[in-house]
């Protein structure tokens, strides 16, 4: 048996995320005791009509969210208990709504910082209706083996350690939520565990006090003793003492009270919960409470540390008198399924990786590129081209190679608004499209006719060099198998109107006195092709390609140099259009050669 919360308790939770978290904890307990989830519904107007997914074992249960208590109890008429997780400013309204619903008999308010006046009104209203209003600031209520309301009991492991899967003989009533688990744990270690533990909240005027619950425990035959964890302030402990001393009680009472430190604190200094305020002339002090409880016949250990032994002593007496029997522990207990991560950590499962990476690792406090921490690279003077070297070719390139790459990047960062890539980005920017999509529009243009010939140029020049071909052999091979040579030819530039970028790059690389077999070969090819037609010159793609192959970059990465570099320009064009607040553009019809058939009659549909 238990009080207040039992196997028939069906719950509606009023509130948002905090309520969902509580439901998850409650589901863990239901799973532990092998009973269906006791949460039937949520009431949270902003999410009305949706469902909250609550993990239960390895599955998920969808719990509906309603706009009002009335709607929830109409759809779930078995609901008899409400947990209130609504903010302090709306808690009173929510609590009243629950109390006024005929299905609901118990309302437990978890909300903290509820105005005292509101709490008093809620408590009085509940008493008038013959219902229970528990809280505010209640951590929850838990009946071992039967029902958990709220997060009381803590994490799953703690539920097991505290033997909450089966009933004991001790009732617990505590103002402090933080100490509830401690007492439950003590009861399970020094005795046979709890029947029901109730957090009544640390406010000055909790809706239900010790006496009401003591009365319920007195009438619950399974509960043999009750542990009260009190605090200075107010007179709830004195009332409990009065109740206990009034006549012979069946339950034994064990109580501790905090606040003795008050006696040695500077005058007027108080702390602890909202309710822990000493009254005039010492009433409500820890000492007066503790004396009153002792006088009434309760067992009052001197310190919190002595509580365990006191509980043990009581339990031994109960065993001796035959009122309780040693508990029988269940042979097996439910175990909460682990998440994949937890199971892996415990070496219990092996998961086949979905992807494999060989270049970077983000799991530490900063990313590592091919094993080198980014900050260390910065601090040791490395630059962007080195990062490209690490991520694209898994090697730390030399200072000289980095300088070549930097120059390549600078030379191809932009080529004005008219080229396909920039034009596409500008067109998109003018249509109001965002940065990433507009830049992507420009990117899409990069291909065999615009900017995308670097890889192919590199591939073929390398092929020729690797196979020690002569220029004639190479041109023959290309004509026969592939067509025009990538990297050769320009739309506007020619022998008479050379591309300054190519001159610059070739001049620089040549000045380094390094071995450049591909570049040399490409320049030889140009000599032949440009004679045939004067715009068949080595273009910037071809030059880049030859140089990059010469300094060892893999052929497949070569287009990347153009893509990366040109991205700088494309972003510039998008920002530029944005800055000017450019309007939508469209083609003028005089720029179009309308070569479609003239207007004609549509034949009947057959």
């Amino acid at each position: 048996m238990s009080i207040l919360a039992n196997k028939d308790t069906r719950v509606v939770i009023q509130g948002g995320q905090a309520g969902v978290n509580a439901a998850r904890r409650m589901a863990e307990f239901c799973y532990l005791i092998k009973r269906p989830l006791n949460v039937e519904a949520f009431v949270y107007p902003p999410d009305a009509g949706k469902t909250n997914e609550i993990p239960y074992g390895s599955g998920l249960i969808a719990i509906p969210v309603y706009k009002s208590i009335a709607e929830a109890t109409k759809n779930h008429p078995t609901i008899n208990t409400s947990l209130v997780y609504i903010g302090a400013d709306r808690a009173m309204k929510g609590g009243m709504e629950a109390l006024d619903d005929s299905h609901i008999k118990v309302v437990s308010m978890i909300t903290e910082g509820v105005p005292e006046k509101d709490a008093k009104i809620l408590g009085a209203h509940a008493r008038k209706l013959g219902k229970v209003f528990n809280g505010p600031s209640s951590i929850g209520i838990i009946s071992a083996g039967a029902c958990r309301l709220g997060v009381i009991g803590g994490a799953f492991d703690n539920l097991v350690l505290s033997k909450l899967y089966r009933e004991g003989s001790f009732g617990v009533i505590t103002k402090s939520g933080g100490l509830s688990n401690e007492i439950i744990w003590i009861c399970s270690q020094f005795a046979d565990g709890i029947t029901t533990a109730i957090g009544i909240g640390g406010d000055a005027y909790p809706g239900t006090d010790y006496v009401s619950y003591l009365e319920m425990f007195e009438n619950d035959p399974q509960t043999k003793a009750v542990v009260i964890v009190g605090e200075m302030g107010g007179d709830l402990e004195e009332r409990a003492a009065e109740w206990y001393g009034a006549k012979k009680r069946r339950v034994k009472l064990i109580a501790v009270v905090s606040g003795f430190c008050q006696e040695s604190l500077p005058k007027g200094m108080k702390f602890g919960h909202a309710g822990a305020k000493e009254g005039l002339k010492g009433e409500g002090s820890a000492r007066s409470k503790s004396d009153a409880l002792k006088m009434a016949g309760a067992l009052v250990p001197a310190t919190f540390g002595a509580l365990g032994p006191a509980i043990k002593e009581t339990y031994q007496e109960l065993l001796k008198s035959g009122q309780v029997k040693e508990p029988v522990e269940p042979a097996t207990l439910s175990r909460l399924p682990k998440t994949v991560e937890e199971a892996m950590k415990a070496d219990e499962v092996m998961v086949a990786p979905l992807i494999r990476t060989t270049i970077s690792d983000d799991r530490g406090d900063e990313p590592c590129y091919d094993g080198y921490p980014a900050s260390e690279l910065i601090n040791k003077g490395y630059e962007i081209p080195h990062v490209m070297g690490l991520l694209w070719d898994k090697r730390l390139i030399s200072k000289q190679e980095a300088e070549i790459i930097k120059r390549i990047m600078m030379l191809s960062a932009d080529h004005g608004p008219c080229v396909s890539g920039a034009y596409a980005t500008i067109l998109a920017a003018c249509a109001g499209i965002g940065l990433s999509q507009s830049v992507a529009a420009g990117m899409i243009m990069i291909g065999p006719r615009f900017g995308g010939a670097v890889t192919d140029a590199g591939r073929f020049f390398k092929y020729a060099v690797d196979h020690k071909m002569s220029v004639d052999e190479f041109l023959g091979y290309m004509k026969k198998n592939h067509g025009p040579v990538p990297g050769i030819g320009h739309r506007v530039k020619s022998l008479r109107n050379p591309d300054k970028r190519v001159k610059e790059l070739v001049g620089y690389v040549k000045s380094l006195k390094i071995k450049t077999p591909c570049l040399d070969f490409a320049l030889e090819v140009e000599k032949i092709t440009s004679v045939k037609k004067d715009n068949l010159i080595l273009n910037v793609d071809g030059t880049m390609a030859a140089v990059l192959v010469d300094i060892g970059f893999p052929v497949d990465s070569l287009n990347g140099f153009f893509i990366l570099s040109r991205t700088i320009g494309l972003i510039g064009h998008w920002v530029d259009q944005k800055r000017q607040d450019s309007r939508l553009i469209r083609l003028f019809d005089y720029l179009v050669n309308y070569a479609a058939p003239k207007r004609r009659e549509v034949p009947p549909l057959k």
Binding site: E116, N158, G268
Partner: protein
């Protein structure tokens, strides 16, 4: 409960139609001089000047001066502003008009578990404190307001007669309206005086305790709450309060000068049991502190820094019960960062740290604390199997 200083307290009473003397709160003599030019009453009336701070025994400290003309009031204000009393500097004075009167009475309204009580006595000032049996009370149920008749009867019971009984009842009606509408927990006027000039009842001194939790529905509470323990909050304390007001969960910190045992426990309930244990073992508390409700780690880190900065501490008690939902690993992470920072600033020399905790991710949290040993901290870590306050016993024995 939140204490309100006299100035704003009187403001609330005035709002509900209770006669209060004319008063001004100033932070400088210049301001008072200017107000003197603008307000006739400051020049015409005899004045009272009081330090407007959360200080006890202001009379004894010479921080209340009565029966002054305006010049003398300026001199008194000059003398008081900037005075240092313990850790508090007087920054404000309240200057109010003296009300010539013969009779003094008493009226209060307080919140009780059953509802509220209206208290009336036909004596006031220190007389009422030594004649408490002359205070008559009317008990009201939750949600109930007193009727004029019941208050008139109360006045008569307290010894008021005729027109004065009616006046006192009217005064009490307004007191109750102020109490009820302003979410007050305690409202006391002592003395209530009969103003000689017009025979009206006037509230001369007010104690106002409001429910700080109800602030959300009182947009006109534009004043700060005062510390309730006879001194102003220190900078360290207000720093922690500022953090507390911003976060989910809570962090609390109060300094107790002269102590040697620093407290850094979790939970409003456990923290007091820990403090009790320190006192019971003959230790001297250096502070009160508490964090609860799964606060963010940075908030706990701020709290830790304040605790580590307490002067003359020998032990730090990082206690806590088995948490329900406070993440032990995360909150301990904040504490560990705070410890490291304090150590790098040369603090924590010769300070022993004692840890006991349980709850979600307790193992990870406790392991992280244990690892601090390798960084040279003098730290002792215990888990749920060590009873709650045993670390205090160990700490104070270790001396």
């Amino acid at each position: 409960m939140a204490k309100v200083l006299e100035g704003p307290g009187m403001g609330l009473m005035k709002k509900w139609g209770i006669n209060v003397p004319n008063y001004v709160v100033v932070t400088s003599v210049d301001e008072l001089t200017k107000l003197g030019q603008a307000n006739e009453w400051l020049k015409k009336s005899k004045l009272v000047v009081k330090a407007h701070e959360a200080l006890g025994s202001r009379f004894k400290l010479g921080l209340v001066k009565v029966d002054l003309d305006f010049k003398a009031a300026e001199a008194a204000a000059k003398d008081m502003i900037g005075r240092q009393v313990g850790s508090i500097t007087v920054t404000q004075v309240i200057v109010s008009e003296m009300i010539p009167h013969k009779e003094e009475y008493y009226c209060a309204v307080k919140s009780t578990r059953e509802g509220s009580e209206v208290l009336v006595a036909n004596c006031g000032g220190i007389e009422v404190e030594s004649n408490w049996e002359r205070v008559k009370r009317l008990c009201l149920e939750i949600g109930q307001s007193p009727s004029s008749e019941s208050l008139e009867k109360l006045s008569k019971d307290a010894g008021f007669a005729g027109a004065l009984a009616k006046k006192m009842a009217e005064f009490a009606v307004k007191m109750f309206a102020c109490f009820d509408s302003e979410d007050a927990q305690y409202l006391e006027v002592n003395p209530v005086v009969l103003r000689a000039s017009d025979g009206e009842l006037v509230a001369l001194d007010a104690v106002t305790l409001l429910d700080g939790d109800a602030k959300f529905r009182h947009p006109d509470w534009n004043f700060a709450f005062a510390a309730e323990f006879g001194r102003a909050y220190s900078k360290q304390e207000t720093d922690v309060m500022a953090v507390d007001s911003k976060i989910k969960g809570s962090v609390k910190f109060i300094e107790i000068p002269g102590g040697d045992t620093a407290m850094l426990p979790a939970g409003g309930g456990a923290s007091v049991y820990y403090s009790d244990a320190v006192v019971a073992r003959g230790g001297k508390l250096a502070n009160y502190a508490e964090y609860s409700g799964d606060p963010p780690d940075w908030a706990v880190e701020v709290l830790t820094e304040k605790v580590c900065s307490l002067p003359g501490i020998k032990n730090i008690i990082v206690g806590g019960a088995i948490a329900n939902f406070t993440d032990v690993k995360k909150t301990f992470g904040g504490i560990i960062n705070g410890f490291r920072k304090a150590k790098s600033e040369g603090k924590l020399k010769g300070v022993k740290i004692w840890v006991r905790r349980g709850g979600p991710r307790e193992k990870e949290g406790l392991d992280a604390m244990r690892a601090l040993k390798d960084e040279g901290f003098d730290i002792n870590v215990f888990d749920r199997n060590t009873p709650l306050t045993d670390i205090v016993d160990k700490a104070l024995q270790a001396k």
